[in-house]
Each structure stands twice: as C-alpha cells, then as structure tokens.
Point group: none
Chain length 228, copies 2
DNA sequence: CGAGTTATGTCACTTTCCTGTCATAGAAGT
DNA sequence: ACTTCTATGACAGGAAAGTGACATAACTCG
C-alpha cells in the first residue's frame, strides 16, 4: 500500500503543484485549504504524513499542529511545515510545537519530495524499532540491509541473522550453543564448530579494510559484540 | 534523579530550541557553544548524555568527541552528534570516532528526543550487567570482562573463573580443595599445587605495576581476597 | 526446466593460546 | 638449622579457535 499524504495549503496553485508531484511519486494525496477541515480529514482517515502550510485560513498551522499532537492517535504523524522565507521565529515555534521538518517557500518540489520521503523512512522503522545501530554499523531489520560507514555490505542470510543476534545483545558473551539456538533454531543438530565458520564469514563481510573487528572471541566461552 | 544532558551547539536559536524541549521532557540541561568549555563542563559534572554539534567554534566536534573517548571516565557517555544535511563524510567520521548516533539538520525535536531516550536506555543497562566489584577491580560476568582502575585486563578462562570465585566470597579463606571443587569442578583429579600456579598467574594478570595484591595467602589454609 | 550462482555445513590443517606438572628457589614457622 | 609450605620459571602437551577448501543444498534467472 502506498503511503498517503495530506496537503494543507491555501494557495491554490501551490496546492495543485504539490498534489501533482506527490501523486507522480505514487503517494495517495488528499488536500484541503482549511485547518479545521484538515483536522476532520485526519480523523476520517489517518494519513502517513502531513504537509502543512503555516499561514492558512481560519486556524493557523501552528494550532493544527498542536491539536494533532494532543491526540495520542495522531501524535505520531510526521508533519512537514511550509514557511515563508525569513520567518525564523515561526520555524522555531513550529519545531517546538511538534513539526518534524520545515521547508521554506519558495522550494523545489524535488527537495520537498526528498524530505517527505525522509520523514516517512524515519517514521516507519522507528515505530518498529527496526534499525539497530552499533558504532558505524547500521542494520535495518525490515529491509534486510546492513551498512558500515554508510557503505552497503553484502551478507548471506545466516550472517545477517547472526549479526542481528549480536546487535540485539551488545556486550554479552554468548556460547556457541546459545548462538545455535538463537540463530539456527532450538532443534538444529549442527556442529558447534560451524558457528566458528560463520563468525569468520561475518567478520570478513563487515570488516572492510582496516576496520576494527566488533566481534570478540572469548576463549572457552563464546563470542560477543563490543563497543570499542 | 532526572538524567542530565549537555548541549553543545553554537546556533543560538537551535540551542534554545533544544534546551526548551529537553527541559520540557524533564531532563536537566546545560549548554554551551564552545567545544573547550564543553570539556570543562563535563569534568565539572558528568552528564548522562551529550548532544554535540559537529561544527562549533574553536574545537571541532570531532575533537571534543575524541577527547571524551580518550578519558576512561567519560568514554562511556553517549554522544549524539548533529550534522548538516549532506555531510555524509562527517557523519561517517563521527561514528568512527565514537559518536553513538547522529541526527541531520534540520531535524524534529521529537525525533531527537526519541534518539536521546534510546541512547540513555541503551547506555544504562550496558553498564549494569552482572558486575562484581572489589576495590578498583570490576568483573562483569555477562560480558566476561575485567577491569582494574578502568583498564581492561586479559585473563585466561581459568583465571577468570578463579577471580570470580574469590570475588563472590570476599574476605573468606578458602582451601585449595574448595577452590578446585569450585573452579575446576567436583570431579577433577588435579594436584592441589596447581592452584598455586593459577593463583600466581592471576596475581600477575591483575597486579599492574605497583598495585596492591588483593589476594592473601593463608599459610596451611589456602587463599582469600581482601580489601586493603 | 536447467545451467549457473550463491549459500551452507563439514573437514582437515594451522595457529594461537592455555594448562597442568615439575624442579627449584624462597619464606615462614618450630 | 630444619621442616613445611608457598612462589616462580620453564616446558611440553593439548585444547580451542582460525582458515581454506569442498561437496552439496538452495536459490536465481533465463
């Protein structure tokens, strides 16, 4: 299902521009020029993100924002506010009130799209807590992606599960048997030494050039992943 | 006691925004715009977390980070760095230097708060593993790590078990046979003299240069671990 | 469906580090 | 001084982990 965006903007031309661009990117777009109506529309169907002009009719954007943040159900919706150039004061108040990002008018649609995308990316996994981070290593459990220093790493399925297993237990020493149970499953009858081999493969995969190895071998006990 | 946060940020408006938001969440906030002053403030009173802008006056953020990591007292403080959009290069170097997380500007206070919270959650329990402490010696059973005066020590498996055995029985004299039973296992047919050798190895490992030896020899009875 | 690629578990071999013992020197108690 | 107990250095054997190779299983893509 494509993410839905609610546009709250009273400049007709701008509103259409936004709608058109967002639609082209595959978003489901609804729009209104009125703050109060915006609140109703949110009630009716919760959008994944809101683009909110700060200067709109009837209810100023800041008030809309405040209302949304007040309600537990809508408090999580990312809000991108549109402000006029130079209204530093507004921007700060906006962020204080709970906006997640701002774009100053005039802006390029491309930039706005990038921001919206960033907001959604940010919002989605943060709800599930699916991004594990350890030093310069990032592991996204939903997209099954791992990066070190921003560079994408290629891990096999087992190596991925293994890394996740470690990242979920920072600094904890786990025995080979525990690793087998956690990564392969309780009922696997796999040789404990096999763990060594996968540890080696994981190390090889995540330690590019001279990176420090985050996996510590604990003789007679198992392995652990460290903060260094 | 509420957690304390140190904000190092030279953009006045942003600094106030952060302070305001963090205070509203119940954090104790101190702030400065200067890297050197930040280091002094940390000396003076250790914060539970630091928010550090990467581009600040006098001392760049990366240097502050490096300094903090160098000192063992401050090395554990979680650092959240603020970088400008697109400074991918900086972000990576930051993480390599020891920052724990990053947020790109502009950002939403909500996101930042969430991150800070996550950092604090993460930092606290990592220190609170099964830690035995005796004077300046710390033994963490879950991470299998031993430190003296903050400096990591390297112990072999047997030495580790032996030290733990003593630390679990402070001030108590135990016979060689008891030690064999407790550390090697009831059914070991090992010479009692061997205990002496391992005691020696343990002493060698934990007594760096002029440190006082915490292990007391009790003639004709065994050994004990003391506070001196 | 089939060729080719990738992933996986095991083995043999190497390397590293640990460990138990002994012989000898030293300290403490009588 | 003599006995008894402990400290220390050395060492060989061995256990544990690292590493490269390989056969097979699983998966991909035409």
């Amino acid at each position: 299902m494509n993410p839905s965006v609610l546009v709250v903007e009273d400049d007709r031309a701008l509103c259409e521009l936004l709608t058109w661009n967002l639609s082209a990117e595959g978003y489901q777009v609804r729009s209104t020029s009125d703050g109060e109506e915006a609140l109703l529309m949110v009630q009716e169907q919760m959008p994944d993100a809101i683009i909110l002009d700060w200067m709109i009719e009837h209810v100023p954007g800041i008030e809309v924002c405040r209302q949304l943040r007040k309600d537990k159900d809508t408090a999580q919706i990312p809000i991108l506010m549109l402000t006029a150039r130079g209204e530093e004061e507004d921007r700060i108040r906006g962020l204080k009130t709970g906006a997640d990002d701002y774009v100053t008018k005039p802006f390029s649609p491309r930039e706005l799209l990038a921001r919206i995308e960033a907001l959604l990316r940010r919002a989605r996994p943060s709800l599930a807590g699916n991004v594990l981070q350890w030093g310069d290593i990032e592991l996204d459990a939903t997209s099954h992606r791992v990066r070190r220093s921003g560079e994408a790493l290629h891990l096999g399925p087992t190596e991925f599960r293994l890394l996740r297993y470690f990242m979920e237990r920072p600094n904890r020493v786990v025995s080979r048997q525990q690793i087998l149970d956690g990564v392969w499953g309780m009922d696997s009858d796999i040789d404990e030494r096999t763990v060594d081999v996968h540890i080696r493969r994981l190390r090889k995969a995540i330690n590019r050039d001279g990176d420090t190895d985050p996996i510590r071998t604990v003789r007679a006990a198992g392995y652990a992943m460290d903060v260094t």
